[in-house]
Each structure stands twice: as C-alpha cells, then as structure tokens.
C-alpha cells in the first residue's frame, strides 16, 4: 500500500483526491480527470486509492487526508 502516485501529488491535490475518493469512490476519477493541467495525475491517483481493499481504503484515505491538511 505505497500509493506512490498519490504521494507524489502536492498536499492540496492529495487532500482533493482524498476527499473525492471518500465521497465518490472509484467514480471520483471521472470527476477529477477534467482538470485542465493535472487531469491525468489526479485520475490515476484517485484510481490508486479507490482500488485499495474496501476495508482498508477508508481508514487509509482518512489518514492521508489528515496528513495532507496538516502539510497545507
């Protein structure tokens, strides 16, 4: 569970992707890929998180979100 793509994002984008996945799960990728500059990165990072085992995903993404917010 290294989530490399996700971790390579800026803190703001990590928080954004984490919130997106918490709210929409896998569908979040479709809503994030429309970014004019970072669409592909955001989509892949969202899919990376969404593909985690369901029982791990929520606590992991929650932790990642708190971490990103602390860094902002």
């Amino acid at each position: 569970m290294d989530a490399q793509l996700f971790r390579s994002l800026s803190p703001r984008h990590r928080a954004l992707v984490a919130i997106a996945v918490l709210l929409d799960g896998r569908e979040a990728s479709a809503f994030l890929e429309g970014d004019a500059v970072h669409g592909d990165h955001l989509r892949k990072a969202a899919l990376e998180l969404a593909d985690l085992e369901p029982e791990l995903r929520m606590p992991f993404v929650g932790t990642m979100l708190r971490g990103a917010l602390r860094e902002m």
Binding site: A15, L16, L23, G34, A36, V37
Partner: protein, 346 residues
Amino acid sequence: MNQEGQAQEIPLGIWDPERFVREVEPRAVELSRGFLRCRPEAWFPGFAAQWMSLAHSLGLEAKLVAVNTRLEAPKEFEVFFGALVDDEPIIIQSTRDSCQALVDCICPSLYGVASTVAPATIMLEYMARRFVASLALAWTGPQQSVVRFDAGLRIEDVPAQGAIEMVFQLNGRECSVWISIGPRLVAQFDGLWRRQLMSTSAAAAEPTEIFIEAAQLAVPPSMLVEYTRSGTIVDLEVPLSDSVVLKQGGRPWMAAKLCSVNGQLAFETLAGTPPAPALPEGTTRLSLQFGGLTVDPRTIAELSQAGAIIKTEIELSDQVAMVINGEVVAEATLCVYEGRLAISVN
C-alpha cells in the same frame, strides 16, 4: 368625446413615450427569443442522475428547483471556480451562504466554509469539479465539447455575455449556483433553442402582418365622422400603461408591453391570450394602432414565447393610426387625461 371647441377646457397631458415606455438594450432584444427563453436543463437530462448516488450515500435530499438564463450574473458572489468549455472560459459562482448550506449537508462539522478553513475550501473545489464534470457528462446537445476544470482562471478572464442560474434545495435549504458564460456558449444555446422552436412549432408558411393596438373603441356608425374629425378628443377609458394587444388577421393574438430600443418602438410579448371583447351590436370597431410589421414564420414561433422582444421600424412617438377594417381613417396623438389614455385627432 369632445369637439375642438371644448378642447381647451379639458386638462389634457402629453403622453411622453420616453416616460411610459421602458428602454431595452439591443442585446436583450437579440437574446430575448433564444438564449433568454431557453431551458438549458433540457439538454442535460442526466445531470440529476450524476448526483443521485452521492446524495443517497450522504442522506441528502437534493432538488433542482429552477434554471434561469440571464444577461448577466449579479455581482454579489464570494466563491468562484473556473472552467473551460472548448477553451472558452466560464465561471461557476455562488454565495457564501449557499456554499455553507452545501458543506453543512456533506460534513456539518466543517465550520466557516468560505473562510480560510482548508477542508471546507477543498471540499467545495471538489464539488465544483464534480459539478462541471457532471454537466459535461450529461450534455446531449448536437456537438460534444471538451470541458476542463481550470483552477487558475480568474473572474476577469471570462468575457461574460450571459449567465445561467441554477436554484437547488438541499435538505430544505435553498441555494443557488450561477454560471457566467462567454459569447460562444451564449450563441450556441441561443441558436439551439431557436432551431428547436422552429422545428416543433406549427407556424404558418407565409410571412404574417402583426399590428400593435393601443386600444379600441366601439363607435356607432353614425358617429364615426365625429370621432375622426380633426380636433376631437376621446377619452379611451383605459388606464395609463405600456400594455398593447398584438393583432394578427384582425384578431387579438398576444398581449404585449411596449418598449423602446434606441428610439425605435419594440414590444415584449406576455403570457396568456388577450381578451377579445365583443362589440355592442350595431357599432364599428375603431382600432388605435402604433403600426404594424411583417414577420416571417420563424419569428412568429419565437414571439409566441412570453418575454420575446422584437424591434419594429416604427419611430417611438405619441402618434397612432385610427383604423377601421384594416384601413387607416385618421391619425391621432396619444394624450393623458386624468390618469387615463386619451387621443386628440390630428
């Protein structure tokens, strides 16, 4: 009715068209039969479905209450997000209260949404991205567009030519989102609506004449000469207003309001069918008209929408024609008499 000799005793006022007729900007006229009448939600039929699963999982009751098109968005917004539609910038904007209502529904513990509180700001940004993506996914118009969220856009980057207001109810709280759009999108919506209107209307194939009637009188034939004699003053017994009746083929077709565009007479159609009062037996209909215009079938279909405006070639003035059976029998000047419309025959 008074004859000229008595006219001096009657306190007649001038009917000043610039005072009684509303001035309308040419852009409002241009878009009044398309963009400003269109129902954009009809082109995004799957929009609500895009939000159903999220609303369900959050236990959120969400309802789209109204969608309105406007010439411009108000200047009162505090929260903005930018996007590009085929490289033309648009701005999604809302008030702090509306954003707070949204955040309260998703995560009530996030307080102070539009302040610098990071989680709420980021959640709103995601909602804006979701909103933009939902619109793009739900679009069923004739040509597909490339829609991208652009976090770097500023409000001054958008050459706004129109705006769309979407009013929602979220758990019973009303909130609204405004989308300011540029000239290309305005023209696209305008053209699309007008084409749809033409294709679904049963308009006549030939151009039609429309006359703008200020009032009508029922005159006994024996008194017609007196009514049309120069200097005659007639109290029309109609309250002062900018209301007129549009007549087509001699019959009332639509109610309308007068307006003016750069000194030319125009009118805005109103909802509902105008009354067609029956004349007392043995009287002749004397119609007081500002004039008429010939319109093509497409324009007839467009004018059938309440709120449509068309500019005529008639100069804005207080002059009306007195018409019997389609024939002009005299000219008159509109006047004001005790708060009512009157005419003084020229």
